[in-house]
C-alpha cells in the first residue's frame, strides 16, 4: 500500500470551475446544497460511485476540478432523475451531471477506450450525419473503438438479436439531412456570439 498526500492546498482549487458550475444551467442553486445526501441515497448507481453525488456537488462548488472531472461517478449517472426530484433544495443534479460529462469530454478527462464518452461521440456523429440512429451500427462502432475482444464477447448477443430480427443493418436517415447540419451550425455560431 502506497502513501499519498491527501491534504489540499488552496492552490489545488480552480475558482473558474467553481464559478462555472454555479452559473451553468441547473447549477443556480448549488450553493444552497445542504449536503444532506438525499441525492446519493436516491441514486441507484451510488452504490458503485467513487464520489457520491453529494460529494460531487460540494467538490464542484468548491472548485476541485481534477477530482470531479476525473471521477468515475459522472460516467455512472444514468440520468434517471431520482436525485433531482428528491433534492430538498431543488438543485438540478441530473443536469449538472450532464454538464460535468460534457466538460469532461471537452477537456479529455477520461480513461482511454472508456466506452461512455466514446458512445456519446459516436452517437453525436451518427446523429449529425444521418439525423437518426441505427442502433446496430452504433453498437458496432462503439465496440470497435473500445476493444475488439468485447465485441466478440457480445457476438452471441448479436446473433440472438439477429435471430429475433431486431438488429437491422439498413442505415436509417431522414430526408432533409441538410437541416440537421444547419441546426448544428446555427447553434455553434449562436454559442460563439453568446460566448457560451
Amino acid at each position: 500500500m502506497e502513501l499519498k498526500r491527501t491534504v489540499k492546498f488552496e492552490a489545488d482549487r480552480d475558482p473558474e470551475f467553481a464559478y462555472w458550475i454555479s452559473h451553468t444551467v441547473g447549477g443556480e442553486r448549488i450553493r444552497h446544497c445542504l449536503q444532506c445526501g438525499m441525492c446519493s441515497g436516491a441514486c441507484p448507481l451510488s452504490l458503485y460511485m467513487d464520489y457520491t453525488p453529494r460529494r460531487l456537488m460540494h467538490l464542484s462548488r468548491e472548485g476541485f476540478k481534477e477530482e470531479v472531472l476525473s471521477s468515475f461517478s459522472i460516467w455512472l449517472c444514468t440520468c434517471c432523475y431520482a436525485c433531482m426530484v428528491e433534492c430538498p433544495k431543488d438543485i438540478n443534479i441530473t443536469h449538472l451531471m450532464y454538464a460535468l460529462k460534457e466538460r469532461a469530454i471537452r477537456e479529455k478527462f477520461y480513461p482511454k477506450r472508456f466506452p461512455i464518452p466514446v458512445m456519446a461521440r459516436e452517437f453525436a456523429h451518427m446523429l449529425l450525419r444521418s439525423g437518426r440512429i441505427t442502433e446496430s451500427w452504433l453498437v458496432l462502432r462503439i465496440f470497435l473503438h473500445c476493444s475488439l475482444l468485447r465485441l466478440f464477447g457480445m457476438s452471441k448477443l448479436g446473433i440472438k438479436l439477429l435471430r429475433s430480427k431486431r438488429l437491422r443493418f439498413a442505415h436509417e436517415h431522414i430526408e432533409r439531412r441538410e437541416e440537421i447540419k444547419k441546426l448544428a451550425e446555427s447553434v455553434r455560431t449562436a454559442k460563439e456570439r453568446m460566448a457560451l
Binding site: 445526501g37 446519493s40 441515497g41 457520491t52 431543488d90
Partner: protein, 672 residues
C-alpha cells in the same frame, strides 16, 4: 390643478416654519445617499427654516436637536427623513408634543427601506431622497392640528386556542384579576402538549406539569372556558371588540355533568369503535367519550357522526338512563351563539404536524410499522393505547428503530423551514424508546440543532447511551430486501455523509419526526382578526425583534406556534409576553387611535348619498333634516374610501386631505 377645497373653520393653518432633519442611520442611509446634499437641498426649499443632517435622528441627542430648534427658530412643522414611519413615526410625534406642537404637524420620509437599502446607484438614490423630502415639505405645510381619538379599553380579554400558550396567557391575566374568555375548538384544552409523554431536555412528564394548569383554568373564577367552540365573527376596534362565538352542541349539559363517566360505561357499544383522536387512531373510543382522563372540562361529549341514536334514532339510549337522576344528557341540544365584548385579543391557535403521506418514499400509510413522532408519544405514554408498552401494529416489540429527522422540514418539495423542535424531540424519543424497548436506535439527521439551555448536554447524553447517529437525509424506506439480513424488515436507505457512502439499515420500526406547519385555516383566522400572515401561513408579528407578540392591529396579540415553530419554554415565554402586553393596555385604561377619520364639509355636500354604500362600517349616515351626509367618528376607521368616492369632494380624510396628497404628488414628481 384641482380647485382648493374649502376647509372647516375649526382648523386654520398658521404660516409654516419648517424644520427638515435628514438621518444617516449610521451608515444604513449615508452609505448610498449623499445625506449632506439632501439636507442642503432641503434648506433651499420654500418655507424651510432649518435643515440638518445627523447620525441618528431617533437617538436622544437627535430628538433634543429638534426640540432645541423648535424653541430657537419657532418651528411649527417638522420633517424627518429616516426610516419607515411604521418604525419611528410615533417617536418623532412625541418630540413635537413635548415641545407643545401638535404632533400631526409632522411628516416622515422613508429614505431607508424605500431608498438607501434598495438602490446602489448613489446619484439616483440621492435624487430620489430629494424628491421625497421635497414632497414632505410641500405636504407638511398644509398639515392641520389633529387630536388623536382616545378610546377606553374594555378590561375583558379573549384568548383563542387552549393549548399551553392559551392556558398560560389565560392564567396570567386571570390572576391579575381580569376577565378572560378562553375559546377552544376541541372538547378539551391542553392542545399538543397534553399528548406528549415527557418533555425535553429535563424529561419531566408533560401531564404532570400541564394538568395542574389545566385544572386551574377550569376552576378559575375569572376564566370563562368555552371548549368545543369557535369564533365566528369579530367587529369593532382595539378596546372594544365585539366577538361572536359558536358553541357546538356536545349534547351534554355542562353544568350538570360531573364527569362520572357512567354514561360511557353504559353506552350500547361495549367496546370502543371509533378512532380515538387523542391517541391518533392508535386506539378506539365510543361515540360518547371523554377526550382523555385529565380532560378539562371533565365533561363527556357525544359525537353525532357515530352515535346510533343520531344515525337511526333506534338506540336504547342506555347513556340517558345511566344519567337519569342528573339528566345531564340532552340529545336535542342545539348550537349556542355567544356575543361578548373584549378590549384585547390573544391568538394562540397553535400548529399542525406535517402529514408524512406527502413524502410517499417514507412509506407512511403503506408500511404499518412506520409511525409519526406524535403517534410514538402516545405509544410510550403510560395512559396511551398500549399503556406505555411499545408494541407495533403487527403485535411485535421492535429490536431496532430508525428515527428520521426533518420529515416535512428543510425541504423545497414540502416545507422549506426548519421546524426547530424536531432534533430535540427526536433525541428525547431516542432515549424513551431505548428505555422502553432496549432496541438499537438510529437517528438520521441533516444537521443536529440543539440550541437551548442544557440541550447540548442532552445530546451528549444520547451519545453516551449508544444511540447511532447517521448524518444523512433518508432517501427511502422500503420493504425490499437486497440482502438476507434485510428479510422481513423495513430498510432505510441513506447516505452516511460522514462516511461518504450509502448505507442500507434494516429496522423493525420507523419513526418519522414530522415538522410543524401552520393550521390549515390560519388564513381564515388572519382575515377574521385582521392580522397578517407570512407567505408560509404563520401569523406575523409587528416587529420580529421589538414587537414579537404584537400585530399590526392594535389590541390583537399572538403567541405560541401559530407565529412559527417553537418549543414549550419559548411558547410559554411568549404567552407571558402577550398577557403582559394585554394587561398593560388594560391598566392604561385607554388608547389613542390615529385621527385619520373622514369628515364632511357640509357647505359642499349635496346629499347625493354616493358615500353611504362605500363605508364598510356604516359610519356614514344622512342627516335627513339637512340632507347632508355625516360621519360617525367612533365607527369610522379611517380608510378614506368615501373621500375618494365623493363626487363633490366634500368628504375629507384627516391627515390625507386631497390637498395634502396633491401637494405630495406634485412634490415627488416636479423636480425643482
Amino acid at each position: 390643478m384641482p380647485e382648493q377645497v374649502t376647509t372647516s373653520e375649526n382648523s386654520v393653518r398658521d404660516p409654516a416654519r419648517i424644520g427638515v432633519y435628514v438621518c444617516h442611520c449610521g451608515n444604513n442611509i449615508a452609505a448610498t445617499i449623499a445625506v449632506d446634499e439632501v439636507a442642503q437641498y432641503a434648506a433651499g426649499l420654500n418655507k424651510v427654516v432649518v435643515s440638518r443632517e445627523y447620525k441618528y435622528m431617533c437617538s436622544e441627542p437627535g430628538q433634543a436637536m429638534i426640540e432645541q430648534d423648535i424653541r430657537d427658530h419657532g418651528l411649527n412643522r417638522i420633517v424627518v427623513a429616516s426610516c419607515s414611519p411604521l418604525l419611528h413615526e410615533r417617536t418623532f410625534r412625541e418630540v413635537l408634543s413635548r415641545s407643545n406642537l401638535n404632533s400631526f404637524y409632522f411628516q416622515m420620509v422613508n429614505i431607508r427601506e424605500h431608498a438607501s437599502w434598495i438602490h446602489d446607484n448613489r446619484a439616483a438614490a440621492t435624487e430620489k431622497a430629494k424628491d421625497l423630502v421635497r414632497a414632505a415639505v410641500r405636504r407638511v405645510a398644509l398639515h392641520r392640528p389633529l387630536e388623536p381619538r382616545r378610546v377606553p379599553i374594555d378590561p375583558a380579554v379573549l384568548i383563542v386556542g387552549g393549548g399551553i400558550a392559551g392556558i398560560h396567557a389565560a392564567l396570567t391575566i386571570a390572576n391579575a384579576g381580569k376577565q378572560v374568555y378562553l375559546v377552544e375548538r376541541e372538547p378539551t384544552i391542553g392542545g399538543h402538549m397534553a399528548k406528549f409523554d415527557k418533555t425535553f431536555p429535563t424529561l419531566d412528564c408533560a401531564a404532570c406539569i400541564l394538568t395542574p394548569k389545566m385544572t386551574s383554568v377550569g376552576a378559575h373564577p375569572n376564566i370563562k372556558l368555552w371548549t368545543y367552540s369557535e369564533v365566528m365573527k369579530v367587529d369593532g376596534y382595539v378596546g372594544n371588540y365585539k366577538v361572536t362565538i359558536r358553541r357546538n352542541p356536545r349534547y351534554i349539559i355542562e353544568d350538570l355533568c360531573i364527569g362520572c363517566q357512567e354514561c360511557i360505561t353504559a353506552c350500547v357499544y361495549k367496546a370502543g369503535k371509533v378512532d380515538d383522536e387523542f391517541n391518533l387512531g392508535l386506539s378506539k373510543r365510543k361515540p360518547i367519550y371523554l377526550a382523555f382522563p385529565q380532560a378539562v372540562p371533565q365533561k363527556v361529549v357525544i359525537d353525532p357522526e357515530n352515535c346510533i341514536e343520531f344515525k337511526s334514532h333506534r338506540c336504547k339510549k342506555t347513556c340517558v338512563e345511566a344519567c337519569a337522576e342528573r339528566g345531564a344528557i340532552d340529545l336535542n341540544q342545539k348550537e349556542e351563539i355567544k356575543e361578548i365584548t373584549v378590549g384585547t385579543v390573544i391568538l394562540s391557535t397553535g400548529f399542525k404536524t406535517f402529514d408524512p403521506r406527502r413524502r410517499p418514499n417514507y412509506g407512511y400509510g403503506r408500511f404499518q410499522n412506520v409511525y409519526t413522532s406524535l403517534e410514538v408519544e402516545r405509544l410510550i405514554n403510560a395512559s396511551g393505547p398500549t399503556g406505555g408498552d411499545v408494541i407495533l401494529r403487527d403485535g411485535t416489540r421492535p429490536q431496532s428503530i430508525g428515527i428520521i429527522h426533518c420529515v416535512g422540514s428543510r425541504d423545497h418539495n414540502t416545507n422549506r423551514w426548519c421546524s426547530k423542535v424536531c432534533c430535540m424531540y427526536s433525541l428525547k424519543l431516542a432515549h424513551l424508546l431505548k428505555e422502553h424497548t432496549g432496541a438499537e436506535i438510529y437517528n438520521f439527521y441533516i444537521d443536529m440543532r440543539t440550541p437551548g439551555k442544557n440541550y447540548e448536554d442532552f445530546y451528549d447524553r444520547m451519545l453516551d447511551e449508544g444511540v447511532h447517529f447517521v448524518r444523512g437525509r433518508v432517501a427511502e424506506v422500503s420493504d425490499w430486501a437486497a440482502h438476507p439480513s434485510e428479510k422481513g424488515k423495513l430498510i432505510i436507505r441513506a447516505e452516511d455523509t460522514l462516511a461518504a457512502f450509502v448505507r442500507r439499515i434494516p429496522v423493525d420500526m420507523v419513526v418519522l419526526s414530522v415538522g410543524m406547519e401552520p393550521k390549515e385555516d390560519a388564513h381564515d383566522v388572519r382575515r377574521m382578526f385582521n392580522v397578517s400572515c407570512s407567505s408560509d401561513g404563520w401569523l406575523t408579528e409587528r416587529h420580529p425583534k421589538l414587537a414579537p407578540v404584537n400585530t399590526l392591529t392594535d389590541g390583537i396579540f399572538i403567541c405560541g406556534a401559530c407565529q412559527g415553530p417553537k418549543d414549550i419554554p419559548e411558547t410559554v415565554a411568549q404567552a407571558g409576553a402577550a398577557a403582559a402586553e394585554a394587561l398593560s393596555l388594560i391598566s392604561a385604561g385607554c388608547i389613542d387611535l390615529e385621527p385619520y377619520t373622514a369628515k364632511v364639509m357640509e357647505e359642499v355636500c349635496c346629499g347625493c348619498k354616493t358615500c353611504i354604500p362605500m363605508c364598510p362600517y356604516d359610519a356614514i349616515s344622512v342627516d335627513e333634516a339637512k340632507q347632508k351626509a355625516c360621519v360617525n367618528e367612533v365607527l369610522c376607521k379611517g380608510c378614506g374610501t368615501c373621500a375618494a368616492a365623493c363626487p363633490s369632494g366634500s368628504i375629507e380624510q384627516n391627515f390625507f386631505e386631497d390637498e395634502e396628497i396633491f401637494e405630495e404628488i406634485a412634490g415627488v414628481l416636479t423636480h425643482a
